[in-house]
């Protein structure tokens, strides 16, 4: 097991507001191995986008974000740098070069008054020091790489001349132009139709296999996570509630929130091969306001399994002792018992895969 490309430890981002300090991201830790994909999963307000913007150091100054924690990134040269502590000038040399990002909205994240060739060439000229003509030629190769037809012609077109799927391909070309070793993709397919989403995901997977880059994939779509992530980190109200390798997570989600998220998908209701259930499983209520978080577990007000202990204090994120690189964690007082069981089972015999993978779902 090589050194992770990125190791995030105890990342917290808070914003002062008129009504008090809002902790958007609290004590988030995860790693991404070289060439692997870690998915950050969560709903609106879970802190997944703030996490990515904090790592990229792209939060606006006016937000006066208070950031703490560490993000150790291993550069191409093999040095380890803390993305959160780097000087702005050094960060600028990394950003768009070794670390780059794809945003959700391909329309609003491309400059409407520059041709797509110029936009791709900009980063290439800055980071790779190519001249104008060479950079444009590079841009054309990038458009070929992301399978944009008639690249030689498209390179001179403006974003409004392209469809949504094509624009997202341009975003990918832009982000990949300097061969980053870490790509952060923030909901890259959410604005796209399903058939286009499938194309873009296949493209990203191909590029990852070819370049060996690491991917931080931010999404709310568990279907996409199941097929494109190696490790999954589930966020709720700014905190990690569960993290696990993808197969383990889907086979047996430990945290009641993860269980609920999987159970409430209408597609899950059908897959049992039974007649449709009368009602879908639903997580009741809604996320508490970040200004008045509950005293204990953030999910407790919506949890069907909540008990007195849940209301006392925020449960710790408990790791399950497991073979290296295959570690699971959950932030739930009830999951602790399960974690101990799992540890015991592993202590006795090597971990056997269950014969049938089935999500255990609370009803």
């Amino acid at each position: 097991m090589s050194l992770p490309r990125l190791t995030v430890r105890n990342l917290s981002t808070s914003f002062p507001t008129e009504d008090g300090l809002v902790r958007s991201v609290a004590d988030v830790s995860f790693t991404i191995a070289p060439g692997k994909t870690t998915a950050l999963v969560g709903e609106s307000g879970s802190g997944k986008s703030v996490t990515s913007l904090t790592l990229m150091r792209l939060l606006p100054k006016t937000a006066q974000a208070q950031v703490s924690g560490e993000a150790a990134f291993v550069t191409r040269e093999g040095r380890t740098v803390d993305l959160l502590q780097l000087h702005e000038a050094s960060m600028r040399r990394l950003r768009g070069n070794q670390v780059s990002m794809i945003f959700q909205e391909p329309m609003t994240s491309l400059n409407p008054v520059l041709t797509i060739g110029e936009q791709i060439a900009e980063g290439v000229r800055l980071h790779l020091g190519l001249g104008r003509a060479a950079a444009l030629a590079h841009a054309r190769r990038m458009l070929d790489l992301v399978e944009i037809p008639a690249a030689a012609q498209r390179v001179h077109e403006y974003p409004h001349q392209l469809s949504g799927g094509m624009r997202q391909r341009v975003m990918i070309a832009l982000a990949m132009a300097c061969e980053p070793t870490l790509l952060i993709a923030d909901e890259p397919t959410t604005a796209l139709d399903v058939t286009i989403q499938a194309q873009i995901l296949a493209l990203m997977r191909r590029l990852q296999a070819e370049t060996g880059m690491s991917l931080l994939f931010i999404t709310h779509n568990l279907g996409v996570v199941a097929h494109h992530a190696d490790d999954v980190v589930v966020l709720y109200a700014g905190r990690v509630v569960e993290s696990a390798p993808v197969r383990d997570l889907f086979a047996e989600p430990w945290h009641p929130y993860t269980q609920g998220l999987l159970a409430c998908l209408p597609g899950q209701a059908r897959r049992a091969g039974q007649p449709k259930p009368r009602r879908l499983f639903a997580i009741r209520g809604q996320v508490s306001s970040p200004l008045s978080p509950p005293p204990g577990c953030a999910f407790e007000p919506r949890c069907n399994h909540a008990e007195a202990a849940c209301r006392g204090a925020m449960p710790a994120l408990v790791p399950a002792p497991a073979p290296a690189g295959n570690e699971r964690q959950a932030r739930c007082v009830r999951a602790v018992a399960k974690l101990q069981q799992a540890a015991l089972a592993r202590g006795v015999a090597p971990r056997a895969k269950p014969a049938v993978w089935s999500a255990k779902v609370p009803r």
């Binding site: 709903e43 609106s44 469809s163 949504g164 799927g165 094509m166 139709d193 399903v194 058939t195 286009i196 989403q197 499938a198 194309q199 995901l201 296949a202 709310h220 779509n221 568990l222 279907g223 996409v224 996570v225 199941a226 097929h227 993808v246 197969r247 889907f250 609920g260 998220l261 999987l262 409430c264 998908l265 209408p266 597609g267 899950q268 209701a269 059908r270 897959r271 449709k276 009368r278 009602r279 879908l280 499983f281 639903a282 997580i283 009741r284 809604q286 919506r302 993978w357």
Partner: protein
């Protein structure tokens, strides 16, 4: 099963936008029926015309050609006043709960306006009772009536949108992507609410969505659209078990199943949806269709009933049927 006259019948509906010499053919000759009590799903990607159909059915946009019959009566032939009165029977729930509520109106005023427009619950006491009843019906509390839209979450706003549609006791509701702006955990709450209300109030729904999982769960029958035309119509269980049209199959194959052990079938479509200003000749899907042959460019495939209640617009049906279902 289709012996009763349909509640809604759409015949050869066309809705074009823009200049008549080079129109955007948003809806191009669509026909379907909806039986009373039925939920019909309209699925398709952006630009397939599904929202325009929903709006054309309610005359929120004027159609270019074709008919929409409600209980046998042509809505297009109605003058403004009788149409306005009929609107209490025909309602809509919008996609974006943030944009579809007036930010300056309290929820009581939003619901009271709907009631007043159709002369329902006219006394002040009666009106407040009805508003409280409506809020409870959609899972909110009567005291929420005093609040403004910004005091609610997205899921709660969508409940208010539903309450507003239900205020005038409609028979038929167009639900235009009512879930797509909501988080997954909130989606399932609203799906359950819609299913409950449909049962309790005997509603007929035209459910517009791009999310096939939701359509499979909620709808009795499904119409699959592509570029303003109907590709396939089938009962939901038949469509999801054995889709016939290559486009339907591609749509089904493209949806990511939340299970890492289910292999995704890489029948991903190449290319983009063509512009509705300049649709391909013949079958509009042929430019992305793995089964397309020269003949597909020559003729527009007719929508034929290939089995009872099962409609398909594809000239390659024999070639497709020969192969094992995808």
């Amino acid at each position: 099963m289709n012996t009763a006259p349909p509640l809604i019948e759409v015949r050869h509906l066309k809705t074009y936008f823009g200049k008549p010499d080079r129109p955007v053919r948003a809806v191009d000759g669509v026909s379907f029926t909806i039986q009373a009590g039925e939920t019909l799903g309209l699925v398709g990607e952006s630009g397939s015309g599904k929202s325009t159909i929903g709006r054309s059915v309610l005359r929120l946009v004027e159609r270019t050609a074709g008919q929409v019959l409600y209980r046998g009566q042509d809505l297009g032939a109605l003058r403004a006043e009788p149409m306005r009165r009929l609107r209490s029977k025909l309602q809509i729930i919008f996609q974006d709960p943030y944009a579809s509520l007036n930010p300056k109106m309290r929820i009581s005023a939003v619901l009271a306006e709907a009631l007043a427009t159709h002369g329902l619950a006219t006394g002040p006491g009666e009106r407040d009772t009805r508003i409280a009843e409506l809020l409870e019906l959609v899972g909110l509390r009567p005291e929420h009536a005093r609040r403004f839209p910004h005091e609610f979450s997205g899921g709660q706003r969508q409940r208010i949108g539903i309450a507003r549609a239900l205020a005038v006791e409609p028979e038929f509701i167009v639900a235009d992507e009512p879930l797509s702006a909501l988080d997954v955990s909130i989606q399932s709450q609203v799906i359950n609410l819609l299913a409950d209300l449909r049962e309790r109030l005997g509603l007929t729904l035209l459910f517009i969505s791009h999310d096939l999982d939701v359509v499979e769960y909620l709808c009795d029958r499904v119409v699959v659209l592509y570029l303003g035309k109907v590709m396939e119509v089938a009962r939901t269980d038949e469509l999801f078990e054995h889709a016939l049209h290559p486009y339907t199959r591609a749509l089904l194959a493209a949806r990511p199943v939340p299970d890492p052990n289910v292999k995704t079938r890489h029948a991903a479509l190449t290319g983009d949806i063509p512009s509705p200003m300049d649709p391909p000749s013949g079958c509009v899907f042929r430019t992305r269709c793995p089964y397309a042959i020269d003949a597909c460019a020559q003729q527009v495939p007719s929508l034929d009933e290939v089995a009872p209640g099962r409609w398909l617009a594809c000239i390659r049906r024999d070639a497709i049927l020969m192969k094992a279902p995808a």
